[in-house]
């Protein structure tokens, strides 16, 4: 009897904890959603509970008409797409070569990749700015994309090379005996076997530019070239009380697609994340 009561008490506690935690997790998100539909501009006009006052879509209208939100969104989308494409193609090729070919300095190159990926790109930002200036690519999307892609190569090459190595070499040797060239072997044999990893690579390089702040802030100086990260930061920085509801509307329009992308890729993500752990 005593034991049973203890056990019930334990589960009541666990459920209580979970419910409390769920509330803590959900509150900021719910508050932002409520903010997006709240009538009134300021933070002070919000309820403490995440329920909008006189629900309205005014904030979205204001966002589209009084700020450059749409062009920021387009910029970020453009940068994200090109970055995904470039990163995926270059990393795929580089990792394939590292996995399947023997050449001089291969080992040295792999080690330097590993060391390079440890340093945050922000460390070299002054130099990056000067280099882009020198190349005439300052305040230019291509400049930013090149920096992103270059920064993505070392780590992702390691990741993908490790994955390619698990595909038996006998398969591509068989393809080569059948007369397939390097490119055909790669496209027809290797690529189909690594699609989950490629999807993961594509998703991570797609999400990167939406969140990054330092580089676009430094490189893209003109207002029309701003990315969402920089635009939203400036909307909210020091003026959180005036612009809150409009910011919330803008944030919602970014978060929704992300949660969807995440939900679709969740299974891959978990598998690939735990693949990073040490395996027996």
């Amino acid at each position: 009897m005593m034991k049973k009561a203890m056990s019930i008490a334990r589960y009541v506690l666990i459920y209580a904890f979970f419910i409390l935690l769920a509330l803590i997790v959900l509150y900021p998100i719910a508050f932002a959603i409520a903010g997006a539909f709240n009538k009134g501009k300021s933070l002070a006009s919000m309820n403490v509970l995440p329920i909008p006052n006189n629900p309205t879509t005014d904030n979205f209208t204001r966002l589209f008409t009084t700020t450059n939100y749409i062009s920021w969104y387009k910029n970020s989308l453009f940068i994200a797409c090109v970055n995904t494409l470039l990163t995926t193609v270059i990393v795929l090729i580089t990792a394939y070569i590292f996995s399947r070919f023997k050449f001089r300095f291969k080992k040295a190159a792999m080690v330097s990749f590993l060391i390079l990926q440890m340093f945050p790109s922000a460390v070299g930002m002054i130099a990056i700015y000067i280099i882009l200036n020198r190349l005439g690519l300052s305040d230019n999307f291509m400049g930013l994309i090149l920096v992103y892609t270059a920064g993505n190569i070392p780590y992702n090459t390691w990741l993908l090379k490790g994955y390619f190595d698990t595909i038996p070499k006998s398969i591509d040797e068989a393809a080569k005996i059948d007369g397939a060239g390097n490119l055909t072997t790669f496209l027809k044999v290797i690529l189909p076997n690594t699609l989950p990893m490629v999807a993961f690579l594509a998703v991570t390089s797609f999400t990167q530019p939406w969140m990054d702040f330092i580089l676009p802030r430094f490189i893209l100086r003109s207002d029309k070239n701003k990315t969402l990260a920089v635009g939203l930061f400036e909307m909210i920085n020091g003026r959180s009380n005036d612009n809150f509801t409009m910011f919330a509307a803008g944030a919602l329009l970014i978060a929704v697609p992300f949660v969807i992308i995440f939900a679709i890729n969740q299974k891959y993500l978990v598998r690939i994340m735990s693949a990073g752990a040490v395996k027996e």
Binding site: Y11, F17, L21, A22, I24, P28, F31, A32, L43, A44, N47, V48, I90, I93, T94, F101, M110, V111, F113, L114, I115, L116, P120, A122, V123, G124, I126, A127, I128, I130, I131, R134, L146, A150, I153, P154, W158, G162, T207, M211, F213, I214, L232, I236, S240, N241, F247, A248, I254, A255, V259, F262, A263, V270, R271, M273, S274, G276, A277, V278
Partner: protein
């Protein structure tokens, strides 16, 4: 001479690239390619020399010239670095040229047969594919990763800083260790550095540990078979990981607004704020969530936990589902209870598998910019901040950002970056040694 091609060929190719290949080894195509390479190098030699000279001198101050025509030190530095990279490539090709001549010379001595052009082309085909395919990656990495890092290190030894050493108006000079000395001698900087470094370390360590064990605790609790709607809870708990981190940080900064934020207002409505004022904890009718050093630091870690626990929760859930079940069955038969099983089986297995990820997360946190900057902006400031610009919640990376973008003290920012290198490097090396490829000796 001709009787010993293993000696004549490398000497010939050392004198002029490709000479040994053409004259001794009869490898005309290869020899001509090497020769053309050397000719191109010789034509551009003066450019390379000028660029490297520029790297050494960094230009002279020519105030009589219009700004556009003055020496631009940073560009000269960049050109010099690029020239160094080119020089390294030239040296590598030259060495390959000589060793290749030697190798083929030896082959010729042994077999007495010359390598045909066809053989060479076949050989080249395979290698050329590899090198051509790798070249975009290498060019991009050298330009946008390697050169910037070297550049950043070099800047620490210059006086590149506002207001009087900013190109193109003024030149920049090499000053050796002077920037280090200055920063060491200005009490504010050394204090600022010490405080920032210690806090960065604390932030990274506590941030990683709380997220790891928080995530683990929840993963374990959700793993209990008797929890009915575990799936629903899990989906809810993943949300902070799915929402872009920057957006969450902005929202948190707003929630924690000391005056108008909903958390403050909620506490005000239920009378907590008044009570805190009555016992003298608060002076004003606001809670300084992000504007009082200690509370701000705690809140940074709390928000970091909110953002970071789902990652470890997901990971540990994944690892636990793939754990061998027979071990647990055997343990149950041997009479081990739940907590013993956890203590002696689950925990060691989990720790073993996730320690590399913890290290990675630690080095990520060391460099986590948004987690601090978007919440507190490094504030609140104190007396140390006035000269060194390091706020009380600044980490090394946000401090560096401020020195660079807000103060334009590039040389000092580079000193901080250099010190950050030194702090991060051991973790980088440790992480490297943990990789499978390193352990198995195969790269």
């Amino acid at each position: 001479m001709t009787k010993k091609p293993s000696l004549a060929a490398p000497i010939g190719s050392a004198l002029f690239m490709g000479l040994g290949h053409i004259a001794v080894l009869k490898q005309y195509v290869k020899g001509i390619i090497f020769a053309i390479f050397e000719i191109i190098v010789l034509i551009n030699a003066s450019k390379i020399v000028t660029a490297i000279k520029g790297l050494i001198t960094l230009g002279e101050q020519k105030n009589h010239l219009p700004v556009a025509q003055r020496d631009n030190s940073t560009w000269m530095m960049l050109d010099g670095l690029i020239a160094c990279v080119v020089l390294v490539i030239i040296i590598i090709v030259y060495v390959i040229n000589v060793t290749d001549a030697r190798r083929h010379g030896l082959k010729l001595e042994k077999s007495g047969e010359y390598q045909s052009t066809r053989e060479f082309l076949n050989d080249l085909g395979e290698k050329a594919f590899a090198y051509t395919a790798l070249s975009p990656a290498f060019v991009m990495i050298s330009f946008f990763v390697v050169i910037p890092l070297v550049f950043a290190i070099l800047l620490a030894f210059t006086n590149y800083s506002a207001p009087s050493h900013i190109p193109p108006n003024n030149t920049v000079d090499w000053v050796g260790l002077q920037t280090f000395k200055e920063m060491l001698q200005m009490k504010n900087y050394s204090q600022g550095f010490a405080r920032t470094a210690v806090w960065t370390f604390e932030w990274a360590l506590i941030g990683t540990l709380t997220c790891y064990f928080g995530g683990m605790f929840i993963a374990l609790a959700l793993n209990d078979k008797k929890i009915k709607i575990a799936g629903v809870f899990r989906t809810v708990f993943i949300l902070p990981y799915a929402v872009p981190g920057m957006i969450s940080l902005f929202i948190w900064a707003i929630l924690l607004n000391g005056q108008f934020g909903p958390i403050t207002r909620g506490l005000r409505e239920i009378g907590v704020v008044d009570w805190l004022r009555s016992i003298g904890v608060l002076q004003k009718d606001a809670i300084p969530w992000l504007s009082e050093t200690n509370l701000a630091r705690v809140m940074l870690l709390v928000v970091n936990l909110w953002l970071g626990f789902p990652y470890f929760m997901l990971m540990i859930t994944g690892i636990m589902t793939s754990m061998p079940q027979d071990v647990f069955e055997a343990a149950t038969i041997d009479g081990a209870n739940k907590s013993q099983q956890f203590r002696y089986i689950t925990l060691p297995l989990l720790l073993y598998q996730t320690i590399p990820l913890m290290i990675m997360s630690f080095s990520y946190n060391m460099n986590n910019f948004g987690g601090v900057y978007f919440l507190t902006n490094g504030n609140p400031p104190d007396t140390i901040t006035t000269q060194s610009f390091a706020g009380t919640t600044d980490t090394l990376i946000t401090w560096m950002y401020k020195l660079t973008l807000e103060q334009r003290l590039y040389n000092r920012a580079s000193v901080v970056a250099l010190l950050l290198f030194i702090v991060v490097a051991p973790f980088a090396i440790y992480n490297f040694m943990q990789t499978k490829s390193f352990k198995e000796g195969e790269l």
